[in-house]
Symmetry: C2
Subunit: 130 residues, 2 copies
DNA sequence: CTAGACCTTGACGCTGACGTCAACGCAACG
DNA sequence: CGTTGCGTTGACGTCAGCGTCAAGGTCTAG
């Protein structure tokens, strides 16, 4: 399979795949004319990357998963390094969630305060006369 | 007060203040020699911006607050436009929190699954013999 | 033979909020 | 008079993950 087909099958762009290759994820064999050639393994590999990216992982953080897959393991998280990334990301998510909850509370409080100061427009009633 | 002092008092950099000016927040009078000159109002203005930025507001989102302050209101959120931004940001925060909670659950589940597959190192016991 | 669809590399653009450097002016101190 | 420390504008660099364009090579169908 060539890069266009892989991109289509993975639901991404050729530019993205070439970018992954430039980062050392997703190496590709070349056919005689220089075209990149991929196998079905590579599709699974790209899907792994995309899934993690959707979770908010940076590309570098997907590397252990990718290398795990390329090492022949059935899934990208079958290796200790991947589990470490999971755990780090969980801690990061927890910290972020805490921060965002705190911010939400602050913003909410300030909104309430400001609304109390100068009350909102009193809900137009749509009466004919009044 | 000149830009260096304002920066120090606001806990930021001169570059940041010039950037705010370039974005139309924080206009400055000029002294004879071309130096920017600020008053205490401007300090409050910068503090307002920084507070909102710490909450994750983009610079553009701070504009209503800044204009509200410059219009003479006692606080930046005394104006309807600011309240609108608060409300939008709350909705945005709620959506983001939902997404992050979902991601957290997914990552947590995958971690548990992978740990069950290939259990972690069995907690070294520090025995002399065993 | 040629049009069109695919592929190649290389390079610049984008977003946000600045950091950092260059090259210069101005002011005060000794 | 020179140095030091402020100020000025302008312009390029940073981070991530690509998008987009340019200029060209390759392969296939008509």
């Amino acid at each position: 399979m060539r890069i266009g087909e892989l991109a289509k099958r993975a639901g991404t762009s050729t530019r993205t795949l070439r970018y992954y290759e430039s980062r050392g994820l997703l190496p590709a064999r070349r056919s005689v004319n220089g075209y990149r050639v991929y196998g079905d393994d590579d599709l699974r590999l790209v899907e792994q990357i995309r899934t993690l990216q959707d979770f908010g992982f940076g590309l570098e953080e997907t590397r252990p998963f990718v290398e795990c897959l390329r090492a022949g393991h059935p899934s990208g998280d079958s290796c200790p390094a991947s589990l470490e990334v999971y755990r780090d990301k969980l801690a990061e998510l927890d910290a972020l969630l805490d921060r965002l909850r705190e911010v939400r509370a602050q913003v909410s409080a300030r909104l309430a305060q400001a609304e109390a100061q100068a009350p909102p427009e009193p809900e137009p009633r749509c009466q004919l006369r009044g």
